[in-house]
Symmetry: C2
Subunit: 467 residues, 2 copies
């Protein structure tokens, strides 16, 4: 393949774009919905499709890890010619979200449809598109440097149950310590800030979820008969929720902010410099009508570097049509806390239990039921030389300076960092308004091509920067 001497990665990417798109469409047609047991066979098919594609691309070591209990994951390794070259591990996932409500899709979710520059389909953005981007990136790297082996040893680790909360990820990491050994993780499951403002994501929030249940009697009781004389669990759960925040929107759990690392002045300046359209933000937030949140912080700061407490659901008593005059027997609330470095899951879990105990009125029994183990927050060390290489790679691919951003969602970056003992950096080329987890998920194809170019540049730059 003939390279453009000025920009060999871009030339290679552009030459390979047609094949890239054809392959991605084939993969997106496989409904690998990991959260739905009826589709677990499709998760296996998806893993085998990826393994076959890697073998066709010449990867010498390709494995499908499908012996359970984790849903099938794909591992592959493409060694560098230089045995002393660094090893990078690309993390992503090939399972996808369910498609309900399916009637809201303009095209069938598993019949990938290209409309202009947008490719529609479940998984196009989250996360198959970005994994395909990496396959293209490696091919472009090899073409650009004119070699059969990459400048760094590249490993892929593409799990199959990220959308289920990665329940067996630590087991995979434990079972495959040798294969997964590396010097750097490239975490590929986060978006750019915006099409006209490409950024490098530097961190994700963690999340801790729990349900709180208050129980009074063993059955609902007529509010005429007993109303006013016994505690009302729904009122109590409301008072608990109301006490979660003060009037400045600060979370009232003990020491909730004690471990929070405040953003640097550079980060705050970066965030402030990003284009921000309040109406777009509201439209992308389910059609919310006003901004709101912790006082003293901008919207981006509230979502990226500040922890939160949100009610995900609240329930108690009679919720059918009309009115039923009862004092409910019980009431419950599902809470989730988004966490930022260096907040610790155990500290939040302990503080929540204390908070509930302190807000349980006499006569009610309280239960705090954790929902999953939680996901710790993660932010990369931006002074690490890999980040400099990454920044150069992304700026070169997008032809402009890029700023740092973060994302408010959660992922297993901290877990990978903890188990593998190496830095994790984020490389992604999707957009916040790709409607991931929602009907009409799409990906903007030219951004994936720029992302592939950035990856190709990164593989070329890394050996020197990490030496």
């Amino acid at each position: 393949m003939s390279g453009d001497p000025e920009n060999p990665e871009r030339a290679a990417v552009n030459a390979l774009a047609g094949d890239f798109l054809a392959g991605l469409r084939e993969w997106l047609a496989i409904p690998s919905i990991g959260t739905d047991p009826a589709h677990h066979g499709d998760v296996g098919r998806s893993a085998r499709w990826l393994a076959d594609a890697l073998r066709r691309d010449g990867w010498p070591d390709v494995q499908v890890w499908d012996t359970g209990p984790a849903l099938p994951a794909v591992y592959a390794c493409r060694p560098a010619a230089d045995p002393d070259a660094p090893t990078v591990l690309v993390y992503g996932h090939h399972d996808v979200q369910p498609v309900d409500p399916v009637e809201q899709w303009h095209h069938p979710p598993f019949e990938p449809t290209l409309v202009g520059e947008e490719l529609f389909g479940r998984g196009a953005s989250d996360d198959k598109g970005q994994i395909a981007m990496h396959l293209l990136g490696v091919k472009a790297h090899l073409a650009a440097v004119g070699a059969a082996q990459p400048a760094v040893t590249i490993k892929l680790f593409i799990e199959g149950e990220e959308e289920s909360g990665s329940p067996f990820l630590t087991r995979l990491l434990d079972d495959h310590r040798d294969e997964l050994e590396c010097d750097l993780v490239v975490f590929t499951d986060t978006p750019l800030y915006a099409r006209d403002a490409p950024t490098i994501c530097t961190g994700q929030r963690g999340v801790y979820g729990a349900e709180v249940v208050f129980t009074g009697g063993s059955s609902d009781v007529h509010s005429g008969r007993a109303g006013g004389s016994v505690p009302n669990p729904a009122t109590a759960i409301a008072r608990l929720v109301a006490a979660l925040h003060d009037d400045q929107g600060r979370v009232q759990l003990r020491d909730f902010y004690a471990d929070v690392v405040e953003p640097t002045e550079t980060e705050r300046a970066d965030y402030a410099a990003l284009p921000f359209d309040e109406n777009v933000w509201l439209a992308n937030s389910g059609g919310a009508q006003a901004l709101s949140g912790e006082e003293g912080w901008s919207t981006l700061e509230r979502v990226w570097v500040r922890p939160t407490a949100e009610v995900n659901g609240i329930h108690g008593g009679y919720t059918g049509p009309g009115l039923k005059t009862i004092v409910p027997a019980s009431a419950s609330v599902k809470l989730s806390f988004r966490l930022v470095p260096d907040q610790r899951l155990e500290q939040v879990a302990d503080a929540l239990r204390e908070f509930v105990a302190a807000h349980t009125p006499p006569g009610l029994r309280a239960e705090v039921i954790p929902r999953g183990d939680g996901v710790p927050p993660y932010a990369m060390d931006v002074s690490h030389p890999a980040v400099g290489a990454l920044r150069d790679a992304v700026e070169g691919a997008f032809d402009q300076p890029v700023r740092f951003s973060r994302t408010g969602g959660s992922g297993p970056a901290a877990l990978l960092h903890g188990w593998l003992g190496v830095p994790v950096v984020y490389l992604g080329a999707t957009l916040p308004d790709d409607r991931i987890h929602a009907p009409n998920e799409r990906v903007v194809v030219p951004l994936l091509l720029r992302g592939a170019e950035a990856a190709a540049r990164l593989w070329r730059l890394l050996p020197e920067r990490l030496s």
Copy 2:
């Protein structure tokens, strides 16, 4: 029928008890569930059963009002011999509550079953048993005084949709002004305080219900993406509910207590003198684990003479299994306020709207949806001479002094008072733990017999007392 010269009403009641029980069992077998359209035919059958029974008893004027829109009601009149005798109107209802959860009944709800002194069946206590008690009372009165016509003109007005909130009661009152004209209403749908502490109920609380809905966006939104940056309707509804009461349990609506008539010292002393077992109260309150309520008032006062605000239901966001990390698009709460004299429905409705407006955060849209017109509170004037007659009648029938009590529930007493322009007094012989509206409703038969005797005595005493 030969009377006991010492106690002619009791002798007559005891002689008629067998027929009374047989008739009541027949009536209870008709599933007149007014709230269920599938049973509207049964409400008609129930009305015709009652009309037939009255005709068999020799009532000269018996009508079934079944031309709609109200469910069939029964009217009957038995005139006094003396055209100047007072006219009393007995109010009650023959529709019954649904029977769900039917599997919790020990006997089928519409196969009335006598176990010792208790008759089990839906409607046994609420309210067919008490209507049957009045039929017996009139027969006993006639036997006791040895006359073919009662000492007062007795009218019965037994509606068929009390359990539906009496939506067309005013229409019936309007359409039948002439028939319903009277000097006194005897309202028969309230219990005694306890078997060992028979009481005269002097009032019922009113009730105003409304649902409050807070809406943010048009759809739920991922709490990682937007959490902390937009208002959470579930948090806001919780803060609204939390603000409804202060720490002393006082309701915070504007002027909520301005019109409240405080109980007299006599009433408070009466209530304090009644036997009160905290464990029994809790067991009868759905198995609640502790008393609670407005500071400064006893449990009976809290339920009888103090107004309340209760959450009957609260709902928002995801309430299925596990966790779904969303900011809900909307959340709602069903509230009901129990009211005491002289609180006014319109004042409470206005104050609630103001309260919701004051507690709606920026970015949320609030709706306040009234549930029905509400029921005003009522308390009878205990200085009225009819109350003296009632007390003598009840004390005579129960062979002991009786105190005043109230009930925390609601009924159309104030409405009858307002439309008919006459005093309303309460006469009932059921118990608070009859499990009305619940599985295994029962009535204690000997109490109904004592109630019939009290009614028979009342008809004898009234002409003199009201003259």
